[in-house]
């Protein structure tokens, strides 16, 4: 029963996704919602403003540097979470007396 329900949900999601892909704008049209003037600015002035050849790296670390800082903090938080859960199983440090 549960497996059949899962299959039905799979099929529904598949149909919805296919309909969504069919309605997507085709490659490299200017009618796409993501297209605006900022793309032209990056492509024309990116090399002058950042002096880097790889425009992806220029956007990632220069124009959108603050977002990259956020991504790095996400990684840091993941390590902190894993160590706070798993390292408590190890008894390799002494607890303070006041706890």
């Amino acid at each position: 029963m549960r497996a059949k329900l899962t299959d039905i949900v799979f099929v529904i999601v598949f149909v919805v996704l296919v309909i969504g892909v069919m309605n997507m704008p085709t490659d490299a049209t200017t009618a796409a919602p993501a297209y605006n003037d900022i793309i032209n600015h990056y492509l024309e002035q990116g090399a002058d403003e950042t002096n880097a050849v790889n425009i992806v790296a220029a956007i990632l670390t220069d124009y959108r540097g603050f977002d990259t800082l956020g991504e790095t903090i996400v990684l840091f938080t993941s390590v902190v979470a894993v160590s706070s859960v798993l390292r408590s199983a190890r008894h390799d440090w002494k607890f303070d007396d006041d706890e």
Partner: protein
Amino acid sequence: MVVLNVIIVVFLIVCAVAIGKIKDLIGAVILFSAYSLMMSVLWLILNTPDVAITEASIGAGVTSILFFAVISKTRRHES
């Protein structure tokens, strides 16, 4: 090129459904690794080599290693 695209996308769909269906967790991780590798080829066809490199190293490499490390601490088969 269209034929290659269709083959890769069909492979991805088959992999994704199989990951949900399989009971062996190690098999699921190997399928996920194959999925990531095919996905990186697809990124390369879509002219995004940056994402392709990241997908091949993180998706196919590190993620499966971390999954194996977790599975080695728990059970291999889903009950």
